[in-house]
Subunit: 362 residues, 2 copies
């Protein structure tokens, strides 16, 4: 019962996780790419917009024709053909001319600014008065202002967000290479565990881990596959582990927190063909019983049985591990925002253990 | 062409959005509840754990029996029955006794602390030496330490996270009442818009908005329903809008940025039976053409046609609106972390317009 365990530090544990290879990539349509991680650098094959467009309703002009224009001394220009939506104007704006243009319309050759309709008066016939001076590029979305040809649209390792999806769509790139999603087998073990629908007899507890760990897996962008509760019996554990390794990339096993149950877990995992135990425990609290093993580049991760500890350890290690396998960076601890705050009470910790403590921000 | 528009401020626009009722609630299983918003206050019907449990492998004892114990002068205790996982011990620990207990085992009556096996020596026969003193509750997870009966598990309006799912599962609460998800019809309009698979002729642009807005809708926890591109023709727009309002709670319409196209949009929306135009424009940049209308408590939201502007306005207004309809708070502007940063160049803005500008953090 007092067998010495090969315990690693939290940092060593993360280095062991890094030994597992990232998943291969796959092509997916843009709709399936949200929040996935890009497996390729994508650069733009063209300028967006491909040519200058107006950002207002008004007249496309040469800015210099409006220099010095005012309410009292307007510039008088000759109205040409109108720019139509969906067509590239086939005419030029020459000095002294103004082409009616709608918002979003492409500028005719020669024009370098657009005067808003509010600052014009139709002067009768084919003339228009411009009552404000314009500078070059006023009210114009320039060619390539959104994206330049050759510019990076998304880099390998970056999360695909709505803005990248929009740019890819605008460029006609309908599919993108992303890392495959991780399939995670979620397995709870322990003679004391019962399904959540049941009423626990004294001494039993409900299988909270199956649900919280599955939810965390989903929140990590991966796919949980939930298995039935396994009692502390070697043959049943072996069968479940084999099935889990067949179906999944990672097995998240909770329970086995007592020495007896952990020994059983280690024995069964160690006896699987081609399996290698990488760590028997991690010097963290809660979570010392955490087990890590590999088999054919698939990982078996042991989490504590106590639901609060299991989720905490999963947030600190499983979530970053899943992000990593799916193309992201591997960083220890819960991902996302990090804050400094003051604790209302002191926490005594044990030398050599890294502690994870739940707090409520106020 | 210079028709005066009823333009509202960004704050007034948000108040108009607030007029729409939140969706009704529905019961969902725990697996479907992740990231949904709770529509009910849930309190715990019981204590978790229901009784004190050990956090280590060792012996359940009365702490006072170990006072003064040391390596040189150990406390000598009589070993009783062992605690088994999954069963509530049917015996008590009396003064001078120690009960072998595994991690996670429930404490027998009488015991108030657990000594780790590392600090014990079996002294032969039924005696055990304890070589360290314990305080009351050492290595014990107390009754109700995780959750107390009557304590709030989740409050109405809060996002369901893996930790709440875990607690609900541990309590045997298999379903939770959450707000229904919003169905959003995503409709792009404009004679210049072509499907993203196509090669735009000069003057045409690809339908980026259909993809970026759908992705944003999905990222907001809602369900996008994408419609075919509608050219600037009243009858086709009317038909699409009717179909969209039948199938969805919100219609996100992009395009109509020119006065002509906007007038068409306003005319068609205004002519729908029971429709009410709430705003013709919002004093923001980009986005002045934004339209808001209601019909039988469903919203029609007009976004700019230019893809960058459309997504920006959707992030500032559509995303918070969807969070609100689905039970969250309604706050103007992109949700999430807010940062202060210094701009490398000054931005000139127009009095009376609220501006949204894309930046890259460095």
């Amino acid at each position: 019962m007092t067998e010495f365990l090969r315990v690693v530090t939290a940092d060593q544990f993360v280095e062991l996780l890094r030994r597992f290879p990232r998943h291969p990539s796959e092509m997916v349509g843009l709709d399936a790419s949200l929040n996935r991680i890009s497996a390729a650098d994508v650069t733009s094959p063209e300028d967006l917009p491909p040519s200058a467009r107006s950002t207002v309703d008004g007249y496309a002009v040469r800015a210099e024709d409006t220099f010095g224009a005012s309410e009292s001394i307007p510039a008088l220009l000759e109205v040409t053909d109108s720019v139509e939506m969906g067509k590239m104007p086939q005419f030029s704006v020459r000095p002294g001319e103004a082409a009616p243009i709608p918002t979003g319309g492409f500028l005719p050759a020669g024009a370098d600014a657009v005067v808003m309709v509010e600052y014009t008066n139709r002067a009768g016939g084919t003339a228009v008065e411009v009552t404000r001076p314009l500078t070059v590029r006023s009210n114009v979305l320039e060619q390539a202002e959104d994206v330049k040809a050759g510019e990076s649209v998304i880099q390998r390792g970056r999360v695909v967000r709505p803005q990248e999806i929009g740019i890819l769509a605008a460029l006609g790139i309908t599919h993108i290479r992303v890392y495959r999603r991780t399939r995670v087998a979620v397995v709870s073990t322990g003679d004391e565990i019962i399904p959540i629908e049941g009423k626990p007899a004294p001494g039993q507890i409900r299988d909270a881990n199956a649900y919280s760990i599955s939810a965390l897996v989903r929140a990590s962008g991966a796919e949980p596959i939930r298995f039935d509760i396994v009692p502390d019996q070697p043959e049943m554990l072996r069968e479940t582990l084999s099935a889990a390794l067949d179906q999944a990339d990672v097995v998240a096993l909770s329970g086995g927190s007592s020495v007896g149950a952990r020994d059983l877990m280690v024995d069964v995992v160690g006896a699987l063909p081609d399996a290698e135990i990488l760590a028997h425990g991690v010097a963290i609290r809660p979570g010392k019983p955490t087990l890590l093993a590999s088999r054919n580049e698939k990982a078996i991760l042991g989490l504590p049985g106590h639901p609060v500890s299991a989720l905490l350890i999963a947030q600190a290690f499983l979530n970053p591990f899943l992000r990593y396998l799916q193309g992201g960076i591997l960083e220890k601890g819960p991902l996302g925002e990090r804050l400094k705050a003051v604790l209302p009470t002191s926490i005594h910790s044990v030398t050599g253990l890294e502690e994870y403590v739940r707090v409520r921000l106020e």
